[in-house]
């Protein structure tokens, strides 16, 4: 990992036009990912973590309005014409999803779909495309790759399908892999295998990974840094160890104390009272304030700016000072 920035998100706002009104789903977030770094975006349902991922590749539906900048190797992806973006999508930036079955075409063989990657992106190859594909399947440790080349997606288990998706993304040698809940549909032993595979690949290819997850376990296993999201805002961002061992934002603290660690006879789990707000009329200021036990007058009016805790650990909370 070096310190150069690969992807920089600046002041990203995403609104969705809906029948009920405009949903302000992302409320001005900034993030960066370095070369070779694993950054996790963690939050509960509806916090906007997948929307951030999709805005990077401009995969959002037509009713979305995106403002801000997403700089990939210095180029603003939001300004790029579609034809240019297509060269980056799937080649320089790969993406895998929670359910690989919906991402794979059911009527084509694995080999057929993977070969397309080489054709669409006109990738340079050293041998036949089939050999390249089989090599990729070997890379993600699919047993019997020669035979799997001729398999259809339904013939593979969930874990194997996710491996195929990862292999397919590797074809373009991406410098960034976006993984949206890549193991949430898998059993725990298979999840462990896939996370290990992703880490091995990032070490082998020095690829950066943006992992979107609701699972603190995945964050703890994989990420270098984590950004905790709540209702379209970032609550706290920093090295995983700092966030987990020294959480500062009331939401992060609540979330970690809600984890069922220990035993019911020893401790009750923490409740975060209330519910996630409606984003058509989100609370002003800090969006967490209606659920925050420490909310002050200022939290209801002013959106918090980042407060530096240590080196790379920032918290968006008025309790911790700031101007």
């Amino acid at each position: 990992m070096n310190n150069e920035i690969l992807l920089k998100i600046e002041d990203l706002y995403v609104n969705f036009r809906t029948d009920e009104g405009i949903a302000k789903v992302i409320d001005g977030i900034s993030l960066s990912i370095r070369y070779g770094e694993v950054l996790a975006l963690m939050g509960e349902t509806g916090c906007g973590k997948s929307t951030v991922a999709k805005s990077i590749l401009r995969l959002l539906p037509k009713n979305a309005e995106v403002r801000g900048k997403i700089l990939f190797k210095g180029t603003n992806l939001l300004d790029l014409p579609e034809s240019e973006l297509r060269k980056i999508r799937g080649k320089e930036i790969g993406m895998i999803f929670q359910e690989p079955l919906t991402a794979l075409n059911p009527v084509f063989t694995i080999g057929n779909q993977m070969s397309e990657m080489f054709k669409i992106h006109k990738l340079r190859i050293k041998r036949t495309i089939q050999e390249e594909v089989i090599e990729l399947l070997k890379n993600v440790r699919i047993p019997d790759p020669q035979r799997r080349y001729y398999s259809y997606p339904f013939e593979l288990s969930g874990g194997m399908r996710q491996r195929v998706m990862i292999a397919m993304m590797l074809a373009g040698r991406p410098s960034l892999l976006i993984a949206d809940e890549p193991t949430s549909a898998l059993d725990v032993t298979i999840q462990a295998q896939i996370l290990k595979l992703l880490m091995d690949l990032r070490n082998k290819y020095n690829m950066s990974i943006l992992i979107i997850t609701h699972d603190p376990g995945v964050v703890a296993e994989m990420a270098d840094r984590v950004a905790i999201m709540y209702a379209g805002q970032i609550a706290e961002v920093g090295p995983v160890r700092d966030i987990f061992l020294n959480p500062q934002h009331p939401y992060t603290r609540g979330l970690l104390r809600a984890l069922p660690l220990g035993h019911k006879e020893e401790r009750e789990l923490e409740n975060i009272p209330g519910r996630v707000p409606n984003l058509i009329n989100p609370p002003p200021g800090c969006r967490f304030h209606p659920r925050c036990p420490y909310a002050m007058e200022r939290c209801r009016k002013v959106k918090p700016k980042p407060v530096v805790i240590s080196d790379e650990h920032y918290v968006f909370c008025h309790l911790l000072g700031g101007e």
Binding site: D187, Q193, K196, A220, F244, L245, G254, L256
Partner: protein, 354 residues
């Protein structure tokens, strides 16, 4: 908390084989052996946690305990009553003493019924309450017990959040004042903060109504938090049964599969994160043709000849701790120390006051 030291449920060599269509002419003796010879007991007042990965047979097992499906072989004694010998009428009477909560409240609550009607059904079916007012009072009372209120009576399930819907499912399961409730992945579809609320609620209700729970989950973190005793299932068999607080939560596990599962609990304290992680290889084989001998042997790094040919019985290796493995001492030497370390790191994290 075990209040009375006796068994509410005794399961003896329970089996359920589902026929599957094979070949052009339909079924020909090909079966999915979802539950393949399970024996265990569930004590009055305890939470028995049953864990395993998809397809291990844990949900089929739960449905057998409520006789929602008929077994292929075996016996279940519910408070001394032979469940499978009951007539339909007798079974209906006994069902009042049982409840079930499913994973997805959206699909288990009728979208066209109000909460009031959903909760009134079990009272009508079992003839509980003599007047409309009495039933209404019972419904309001149970709603309050699960953290909802009168204002929810005339709402429809879709008007509630996922957590509130699950509260309604729980209310429906306990409104007949049952002894035994099956909780089949009740928090798997919920966010962490909502999961915490539901787990707290389940613990509170168990204490208040002296309920016995069978808690089914694939989430090991939830398992070690909520259960008093646990059973680990693999391909239709129980491979290990133990006490939670003084065995599982201390990492004292002796079946290699249990050890691998527990090691998949993430090292939340990332000082414990190791790049050379211990991971179980391979995937769960099909339960149509399960492996011979010990079913785990194709994935077990310690498998020997004996494991391929001879099926290990579930034996008591310590008081109340049962393991189905020919060589538990190998796991004890090679894996148990890592599991102990992982569980200790969790305790350290909790003590650390985060």
């Amino acid at each position: 908390m075990i209040l009375v030291r006796d068994d509410l449920i005794i399961v003896k060599d329970l089996k359920k084989y589902f026929p599957i269509r094979a070949g052009l002419f339909g079924t020909k003796g090909v079966f999915v052996r979802a539950v393949d010879g399970v024996s265990l007991t569930i004590k009055r007042g305890e939470t028995f946690g049953l864990a395993g990965e998809s397809g291990c047979g844990k949900s089929t097992f739960a449905r057998l305990l409520l006789r929602l499906i008929e077994p292929t072989a075996g016996k279940v004694l519910f408070d001394g009553i032979d469940l499978f010998s009951l007539s339909k009428k007798e079974l209906r009477k006994l069902r009042r003493r049982m409840g079930i909560v499913f994973q997805d409240p959206k699909s288990s609550l009728n979208p066209r019924m109000t909460i009031y009607n959903i909760l009134k059904r079990p009272l009508e079916i079992h003839g509980i309450g003599s007047s409309k007012e009495e039933r209404l009072n019972m419904i309001i009372e149970i709603l309050e017990k699960v953290g909802l209120g009168e204002e929810h009576l005339n709402r429809y399930p879709h008007e509630l959040s996922g957590g509130q819907q699950q509260r309604v499912s729980i209310a429906r399961a306990i409104i007949t004042k049952p002894d035994f409730v099956v909780l089949d992945e009740p928090t798997s579809a919920l966010d962490i903060s909502v999961q915490a609320q539901i787990l707290n609620l389940l613990v509170k209700l168990q204490r208040e109504f002296k309920l016995t729970y069978l808690f089914i989950t694939h989430n090991l973190m939830v398992l070690q938090y909520i259960s008093d005793r646990v059973g680990i299932m693999y391909l239709g068999k129980v491979v290990e049964i133990m006490n939670t607080r003084d065995e599982l939560n201390l990492g004292k596990v002796y079946h290699p599969y249990t050890a691998f599962l527990m090691l998949s609990i993430p090292a939340v304290d990332i000082r414990e994160r190791r790049r050379d992680k211990i991971i179980v290889p391979g995937e769960v084989p099909s339960s149509i043709n399960p492996p011979t001998g010990c079913r785990f042997h194709p994935r077990c790094p310690f498998a020997k000849e004996e494991c391929k040919s001879k099926e290990p019985p579930l034996l008591e290796i310590r008081r109340g701790h049962y393991v189905a493995c020919h060589f538990p001492s190998i796991t004890e030497e090679k894996l148990t120390p890592y599991v102990e370390e992982r569980m200790e790191s969790i305790r350290r994290l909790l003590r650390g006051g985060s």
